[in-house]
Symmetry: C2
DNA sequence: ACATACGTGTGGGAA
DNA sequence: TTCCCACGCGTATGT
């Protein structure tokens, strides 16, 4: 990994177009051929370019032009003055991957395994049940045996209501479900989202933050009638 | 900006939880109190923490613990060995902002100024027209004088159909519009999005990539009847 | 501070 | 490969 501190200006052309005026910034060039231009604020680079770009350096009167190019994009850095240029040796192990926990997909699994948490007497039917408008996260039946299309989110916003509306609509029209309604299961359902859900006749429940402690998964193993705690 | 190369492992707790195993990586600490943990691949940090986090360093037997904390989140880095630690002086100017071109908001302005591009005889009525379900990007009238709720996107996916459906629904119900329909104007309308739009009775048009050349904006100034070229 | 929406979003998984 | 959706999305803007 190479870090260059320089007085530079930047032009990007590709998916969009951007300009950066002349200023002192840090360029980070990695061994996979990616570049980022950082200033002293924030975690995101001001400009960047994905891996495998080719660097060509040309000299002009007032500056060196560092041009990073791929097939479709180009990042052109005018280097007016270079203050430092360091090569930082990093071992690169392909195993160096972030391990995530508490993701939506895990929440989904957990709710599928604990249908009671979204409603008394609810039972699991299927995960990723296909509809004409995309797969429903979880399909359940309620205590009366009516189908429920469950949309799982960590944070539910307006789009979640739209999604579940789409699924219910598609299940009724394309799949011949006569009795089916929608439900949002989320850690957090925003106020406006609650309003829209209400209007659309979509139910919603909040899952307690403690879901990851596994409270619902602990089953008594000492009795003949295992009981959800 | 401080760059530390070290053999370290990382644990993040906050919105989710993540772990990184022990490896040699670069820590970037900026003057706004943000941190990022980089390996030698990609433009995105493996871990990071936004601005204004407080760093406290404590010594353990095998490592120093660098703990970056905010009210709600915490990034804990076990530093087993530090290979280098450089302070890179960057001037920080608040004016150092990326200037973008070809954004959605510019596309929106352009379409508002060139309503003909989405339909023969269309006329502009209003931008950001408020509805009970949020503001419509552009409100127009078609050649017959019927209202059209236009949703602008660079790339239109399923959510765009939902949005414009919501607006039309709200305009009819809350605002007393009797004649109104929805339209998506985008550079790219994805296949499934076209299908769903069809089903919902939402129209869509693609804006040519050349919109930024200003073809529609060039107006003859030599005649009494300025004419769109 | 909260809520909403854009982004050169990025990344991953499935068709 | 393209298409779709989640993300500790980040970041800016309006309230």
């Amino acid at each position: 990994m190479r870090v260059v501190v320089a007085d530079c200006s930047v032009i990007y052309t590709g998916r969009g177009d951007t300009k950066l005026p002349r200023a002192v910034r840090a360029l980070i060039v990695k061994s996979d051929g990616s570049v980022s231009v950082h200033n002293d604020r924030g975690t995101k680079p001001l400009n960047y370019m994905g891996k495998d770009c080719a660097l060509t350096i040309t000299s002009e009167e007032d500056y060196d032009m560092w041009s990073f190019d791929t097939r479709k994009e180009s990042l052109q850095v005018k280097m007016y003055q270079i203050y430092s240029d360091s090569l930082l040796p990093l071992e690169r192990s392909p195993e160096d991957v972030l391990e995530r926990d508490g993701t939506e997909s895990q929440l989904q699994e957990w709710i599928a395994a604990n249908p009671e948490c979204v409603g008394e007497g609810f039972t699991f039917v299927s995960r990723e049940y296909p509809t004409g408008a995309g797969p429903v996260d979880i399909l359940m039946k309620d205590a009366e045996g009516v189908f429920v299309a469950v949309e799982v989110k960590r944070v539910a916003m307006l789009g979640a209501v739209d999604q579940v509306s789409r699924y219910v609509e598609a299940l009724k029209r394309d799949s011949g479900f006569t009795e089916v309604y929608g439900l949002i299961a989320a850690l957090d359902v925003r106020p406006k989202t609650q309003d829209l859900a209400q209007k659309r006749g979509i139910n919603w429940v909040t899952v307690p933050r403690s879901w990851r402690n596994g409270d619902f998964e602990v089953v008594s193993e000492d009795t003949d009638n295992p009981e959800i705690i």
